[in-house]
Symmetry: C2
Subunit: 430 residues, 2 copies
């Protein structure tokens, strides 16, 4: 194929077992999300750039695919889905009983240098809970994601952090929100020294010292006593900061109580600027590498950014491509047994489709028309069929078919109507 | 919500029952396609413009979303998926036993004036069969689509046409392929007189007369005798034309034999320039309106356009949005029975999630933390739960829960371990 006909740089054609794996992940994600009371939402793949401009974070904004449509409207391929979900909630779902629990499965896009397991088009499975201030909202989403990961056999653990600590310290030292976003972005990029420098230049020595200390906290408990010391600096923000900290503690201890490993990770801030407090990430465990496969956190009040009333909100997204990669080495789809209906050239082809209708629904089946029986059997064999149902003109005239077990080679001539029970009673191998 | 935060013009947020319906259609389409031996393929949402430029048809090209990425590459949001599928086949699937049978579910995009049931982003479910010259390939795809439509309860019939008739007549009068594409495009736009004029000006009076007569054929049989008369004009192309006509006859008669209504429709050409012969469309039947819900046809040799070797190919795509619209008035999802686990504030929240693990997997279930029981029951009722499992501190200390049947009001105090069997044995209503 000429290079002009390759997939765009950083994007992929997914086929074969890999495509089967994606479909399996999609269907399991949907099943688990539904079983926990989350409702599906489908939003546009393309949005006005404006939607993401407001609060997506530096990194995300820099790497968006942005373009004008023919009427000059500035559009973007979605880099993430939460902004769209907030819009959906505000437009269409405010009358529902709260919390409103939503899920999505969606391609997202980022224009970055492609690297191993990072694609320019990637799939996200997300869970969002709007309208509940309680830590149960965070837990409900997190545990549902864990249940999904368990259902597909991905061992994992949690990193947990709290961006409210940094935001509130910075606010109390009069560092504005845009600068906060930038400083958090630096922490996310592991430029911690640079971040602390920036806090110093904008908020002074004490602000820098406090931030630095919080960034080095070794456990969630050590933060608590330190917060007491900060009471005078935090002033009005102290109560709120403590509250969010208590959420992190309760989230952590409940997850541990449920058997999950949770690591307090003070430098975890994630790449999205809309997080307001509790923040968490999923890492794979038990393999050679600890790979990040998703995460989320609190984004209370993001609704106000889109001209809506204040709403509590929390959510998470899992990277389906990463998960597929983790699973790819040992994924094997459980296939239904399969039948190929081989119709010889001198029999009307519609007869094959009538016979196909008689194949029990727990079998995979299709019609193949052939000039010679040997060619048909060879095909049935190559595509891995368990049975071949052979219809030649002699059998056809008698209302019969030959059923051949492709694994044993055994074959029998039966009346067409006996086909379903014959197949059902056979102990096919796959 | 401020208008800048609406979905882009012509695109939609899909929520609630409508989103459930889409997910149901996706999962049924996948199930039926798989059960007939089609394999999933996932291709990029964005492609190089070049991929579609070659052979997508005037209409499609005019209405594409085209834009440059940051490196100046010309990209397009896919207007359809067949071009990508051909690329996938050529790059990755040529070694598979033929025919190679593929399916996809994908958003496509067209920049057109939005109108009722025509969106700028729309969903297509497609089936493609590559490497089989036999009409069985066409039938295999068509019958699978019909089975999908039957499984979701959409009554339908077929329109059938044959673009090889026009292409070969035009070729034999030396009308080049680009002009052929344009003339077929005019027929598709129901500008039949204009199309015939164009044939006249490029191919002469006889070419126009023949085209006109073929466009008015009342049945598939009347075409056959007329083809005989054209033998001298068609010359070398006669055999090929007759062969494709025989495919249309066999396709039609097999479908009728299987109980489908099929209407020969000489003016059916469809909007894509790559079709080479048999062409067909699905129309809904039995409703107030006959709505087109998809179609397909032969595209033999499209592989050569992408620098590959010649391959026989056929396929179809169904419009999921149209189908959703047809079904929307009477779609009701069969929901699993549901349980809300109500945890009172003085009980550790993790207890709720431990109880959730005991809920049988055929139930939908989630945890809700409440300050008062009455608030919890009200919520359970509003979200339509069949059962509430109530955990207060008294019950918690005894290792017990209260199970309330939300429909009958009946409630019992049981040991936590007795919960699964109690729920399984109950005859919940939904």
């Amino acid at each position: 194929v000429c290079s002009e006909y390759l997939p765009p740089r950083g994007m992929r054609d997914i086929t074969g077992v890999e495509a089967e794996l994606y479909e399996y992940l999609f269907s399991e994600f949907r099943r688990v999300a539904r079983s926990r009371g989350f409702q599906p939402v489908i939003t546009p793949t393309v949005e006005y750039f404006k939607l993401f401009e407001v609060k997506s974070g530096e990194e995300v904004k820099k790497s968006m695919y942005v373009f004008e449509d023919k009427a000059g409207r500035l559009l973007a391929l979605r880099p993430e889905v939460t902004a769209s979900i907030v819009r959906v909630y505000l437009r269409l779902l405010r009358a529902q009983p709260k919390p409103v629990k939503l899920y999505y499965l969606a391609q997202c896009f980022r224009y970055e240098e492609p690297q191993y397991a990072r694609y320019r088009e990637f799939w996200q499975g997300g869970l969002e809970v709007i309208g509940d201030p309680d830590v149960n909202a965070d837990l409900g989403a997190a545990v549902t994601a864990s249940e999904f990961l368990e259902s597909i056999g991905v061992k994992h653990f949690y990193l947990v952090g709290n961006v409210a600590l940094y935001r509130n310290v910075m606010r109390s030292f009069n560092i504005d929100e845009e600068a906060q976003d930038h400083i958090l972005h630096l922490i996310d990029k592991e430029k911690v020294d640079e971040a602390v420098e920036e806090v110093k230049s904008r908020g002074g020595d004490i602000a820098a010292e406090v931030t630095s200390k919080l960034l080095s906290a070794e456990s969630v408990d050590s933060v608590e006593s330190y917060l007491q010391d900060l009471k005078s600096y935090l002033g009005d923000l102290y109560e709120k900061t403590l509250q969010e900290h208590m959420r992190v503690i309760e989230f952590t201890s409940a997850l541990r109580e449920l058997g999950y490993r949770v690591v307090y990770s003070p430098r975890l801030v994630r790449g999205l600027a809309y997080y307001t407090g509790l923040i968490f990430e999923y890492k794979t465990a038990g393999g050679e590498l600890e790979v990040s496969i998703g995460g989320g956190g609190r984004y209370d009040g993001l609704t106000t950014v889109y001209s809506g009333p204040f709403e509590y909100a929390t959510g998470l997204a899992l990277g389906i491509d990463r998960i597929a990669l983790v699973l790819s080495s040992n994924f094997q789809l459980r296939e239904a047994r399969s039948v190929s209906v081989l119709v010889l050239r001198d029999v009307p082809i519609s007869v094959g489709y009538k016979v196909l209708r008689l194949i029990p629904s727990n079998f995979k089946g299709f019609v193949y028309r052939v000039n010679s029986l040997s060619k048909g059997l060879k095909y049935a064999n190559r595509v891995g069929c368990d049975f071949a149902v052979i219809i030649g003109s002699v059998e056809y005239k008698q209302g019969k078919v030959v059923v051949k077990n492709m694994k044993t080679g055994e074959q029998v001539l039966v009346d067409i109507n006996a086909l379903p029970s014959l197949l059902n009673s056979s102990s096919g191998s796959s």
